[in-house]
């Protein structure tokens, strides 16, 4: 028993030590406090792009900065992205790091499909992004409705290896299983469908929390629907929910010149596609009400 616990401890210490080296996403997450500090120290118009890997790959920071400058406003642009996350995680990240002293002037949340809905979370990873016990308590009482989920939150908060287990899983299986990346998408989608099948009605509780936190701290919010090769629909109620939260919805699903081949894996944009999308997004942003409010 002691030997097994020792092995587990060694794995935990080792994964904390080499986590950033092994995973770009872990590196990105660990830089969030630094991004927040740099943003707060800037005197320019501060724009924060928040999302998942679609934002990481699809929003080209240099293109965005240049486009903003061309349209008459020098902006300090920052991106925060956590792979494989949705609104649930984004609102915690925003509220933990960017809601008060480090708040941006404009928050742009990039999403696709149902990512603004309240969907079942990965509680291991959610626990891992909590920075303090207060946030963990909030997650336990607001998100985790049963004991099993609370235990996963606490274990994710306590053990880095536990909260990042899925990364290890993907790495190992990618190395050992031929064609794993192709098949994992199919299996993931099946698992997500199975998980989401327990969701009986649509709700937007976390989106509302994000918008409320932004409003309280005088941050303009834009929710930008990003492009995918396969068309997805926007829920009709989203418009009214976003408007009620005093935020702006931008539909950037159709970008002129964007072709299906520019999505290199069927989801993420290549550099050319990212440049096209980033320019179009800036065009839409700078003509939006949120941008004008910030003037």
């Amino acid at each position: 028993m002691i030997a097994v616990l020792t092995v587990l401890l060694a794995v935990e210490v080792g994964s904390r030590a080499i986590g950033s080296w092994l995973s770009q996403d872990v590196r990105n997450i660990r830089t969030i406090p630094r991004v927040a500090l740099e943003l707060s120290n800037s005197r320019e118009y501060k724009v924060l792009f928040l999302g998942n890997s679609l934002t990481r790959v699809g929003v080209d920071e240099s293109v965005v900065s240049a486009e903003f400058a061309k349209r008459g406003r020098k902006a300090r642009v920052a991106r925060v992205y956590l792979d494989d996350t949705t609104i649930n995680t984004w609102q915690y990240v925003f509220r933990q790091h960017f809601a008060k002293e480090c708040r941006p002037d404009l928050l742009v949340v990039g999403f696709v499909d149902r990512q603004l809905e309240d969907l079942p979370a990965d509680y291991r990873r959610l626990g891992g992004i909590a920075v303090n016990l207060r946030m963990l308590w909030e997650m336990s009482t607001v998100d985790a409705k049963d004991l099993d989920r609370r235990v996963e939150l606490v274990l994710g908060y306590t053990f880095f290896s536990f909260s990042n287990a899925e990364r290890v899983r993907h790495r190992v299986l990618d190395a050992l299983v031929p064609g794993y990346r192709i098949i994992s998408r199919t299996l993931n989608e099946s698992a997500v469908r199975h998980r989401n099948s327990s969701v009986t009605g649509k709700s937007y509780f976390h989106l509302l929390r994000l918008m409320n936190a932004a409003r309280e701290n005088h941050v303009e919010v834009v929710l930008a629907a990003m492009p995918l090769p396969a068309q997805y629909s926007l829920e009709p109620e989203l418009n009214s929910i976003i408007a009620a939260g005093e935020a702006t919805l931008i539909d950037a699903r159709k970008v002129e010149g964007l072709r299906p081949q520019m999505f290199f894996d069927g989801f993420h944009l290549d550099r050319k596609g990212a440049a096209l999308f980033s320019r179009d997004l800036c065009r839409l942003l700078t003509t939006s009400a949120a941008w004008k409010h910030g003037s």
Partner: protein, 481 residues
């Protein structure tokens, strides 16, 4: 409360602590209360069915021993068994049989509108009704005395480690442990730990991780041949991991509170024949069917087929064949109300009969050498896998169209290749470990004697559970039965 949930283990910690603090009689009362709480966590309304089953068994068993004549004894037994079967029939089979009857009547031109009974199948009903029926039959046969204390019988019926998916315990094995003070053996903790850790590994790391592969293949409209093979293999290890994992955890939990329950699986995929497979797979059900169905049927047929010879085969073959076929058909039906389960049962019954043909037995004894034995194991595993195709496919026609694809389409798609590799990754090490244990002709004993092996095996289990949780947890397959 699934065994793989934290909620269950918190529940069990409380139960185990209380158990240690209480005297014997209070232990039983506490375990009874805990068992009903455990079941009620799923659905409290159906806890009354367990109580009904218990009251019926208690009344019947005491009535049986009081009856003077054999006819009256038999009548009480028949009434008790019939009531239990009616309970099963209503909750499990009414929908299927009424639907098939309505369909048949429509075909022959008699329109029928039978009442629909929309009820949820109570979890565990197939297990505890069989356990209770077994108790009543044992009292009738004078194998066991009726339970002296109603609460003891209630605990026998509802004992929480076994309640949802077995093993189906015999009254002669479990009831004495309930009725008499128990001593916690020194080796019980280590043995229980081995059962629990490996049970969790089989359920969480193997079964739940292979389920998406099987689901993807069986949900596909036109799987290719290799995909079908991989899907069936994935299901074979999913159902094994799921059910044997559950049984292992149940055994480990029972050991930790001083009970020894039946081992339900003994590396069934290493079997060389159908008879051996059924001596290794779901042992508690197969022995129950043998003792309460197959043997009585064989005896009944032996009195009617005595001396009969047909097609050059003697009466004992035909007695065995008919009794086996009926038993396995009912074994299939026990698993669920669908034609696929009946066909699966018929398939296994046919296998048992074919292997019993004169000449085949001699060949088996001769081919005891390692290589021939390996060939037989591989062959038996694939015969079992064909059975799993029937079991999982959803319909008989679908099963046959999928099996046809194995011969027609040889396209090794990404799903087939990746699926095969994932099966090897998740199930391979445990299968190798179990094969090694089988060669040692031992189970946990060997693992406990070699500290290095123990540490390595536990470390492997813990790391797999830590780093390879399933994408989405699945309920235990046998809960649906």
């Amino acid at each position: 409360m699934l065994f793989s949930s934290y909620t269950f283990w918190l529940f069990f910690v409380f139960v185990a602590i209380l158990y240690r603090l209480l005297p014997f009689r209070a232990q039983n009362a506490m375990l009874l209360g805990a068992s009903y709480i455990f079941y009620s966590h799923w659905d409290w309304r159906y806890a009354s069915l367990i109580l009904f089953s218990t009251v019926l068994a208690y009344a019947a068993s005491h009535s049986i021993v009081r009856q003077a004549s054999a006819t009256r004894r038999r009548a009480v037994l028949t009434a008790s068994v019939a009531t239990h079967l009616a309970l099963l029939g209503v909750f499990k089979y009414y929908g299927f049989f009424s639907g098939e009857l309505a369909r048949l009547l429509t075909v022959v031109g008699v329109p029928a509108s039978l009442p629909i009974l929309d009820v949820v199948l109570p979890v565990g009903i197939s297990f505890y009704t069989f356990q209770t029926m077994g108790y009543t039959i044992d009292v009738y046969r004078r194998v066991t005395q009726p339970a002296r204390n109603f609460l003891d019988l209630a605990l026998f019926v509802s004992f929480f480690p076994l309640l949802l998916a077995g093993p189906i315990e015999r009254s002669s094995h479990l009831l004495p442990q309930i009725e008499n003070p128990r001593q916690l053996k020194p080796e019980a903790f280590a043995e229980g730990l081995h059962e629990i850790v490996f049970g969790l590994l089989k359920k969480v790391a193997i079964a739940d991780n292979l389920a998406p592969i099987a689901n993807a293949v069986f949900a596909s409209a036109n799987p290719t041949g290799p995909e079908t093979i991989v899907g069936v293999y994935a299901f074979a290890f999913q159902i094994y991991g799921d059910f044997s994992g559950y049984s292992s955890i149940a055994r480990g939990v029972a050991l930790w509170i001083g009970f020894d329950v039946t081992q339900n699986f003994k590396m069934p995929y290493l079997a060389t024949s159908p008879a051996e497979f059924w001596s290794r797979w779901h042992i508690s059900l197969s022995t129950w069917l043998r003792d309460y169905l197959f043997l009585p049927l064989s005896f009944w047929f032996s009195r009617r087929l005595d001396g009969v010879q047909w097609l050059g085969l003697r009466d004992d073959f035909w007695i065995y064949g008919v009794a086996t076929w009926i038993t396995m058909l009912l074994a299939g039906l026990w698993h669920g109300a669908n034609w696929t389960f009946l066909v699966w049962g018929a398939f296994h019954g046919s296998l048992l009969i074919v292997y019993r043909l004169p000449g085949l037995g001699r060949r088996r004894r001769v081919a005891a050498r390692a290589a021939a034995s390996m060939i037989q194991r591989v062959m038996m595993f694939h015969l079992v896998c064909f059975g799993w195709l029937l079991f999982r496919a959803g319909s008989v026609s679908r099963a046959f169209s999928m099996s046809g694809s194995v011969l027609q389409s040889v396209n090794a798609t990404a799903l087939a290749v990746s699926g095969a590799a994932m099966i090897a990754f998740y199930a391979g090490p445990v299968m190798v470990y179990e094969a090694w244990l089988d060669r040692q002709r031992a189970t946990r004993g060997v693992a406990q004697r070699h500290p290095g092996i123990r540490v390595l095996s536990y470390a492997y289990c813990v790391l797999m559970l830590w780093f390879f949780p399933p994408l989405a947890g699945n309920e235990f397959i046998y809960f649906r039965f």
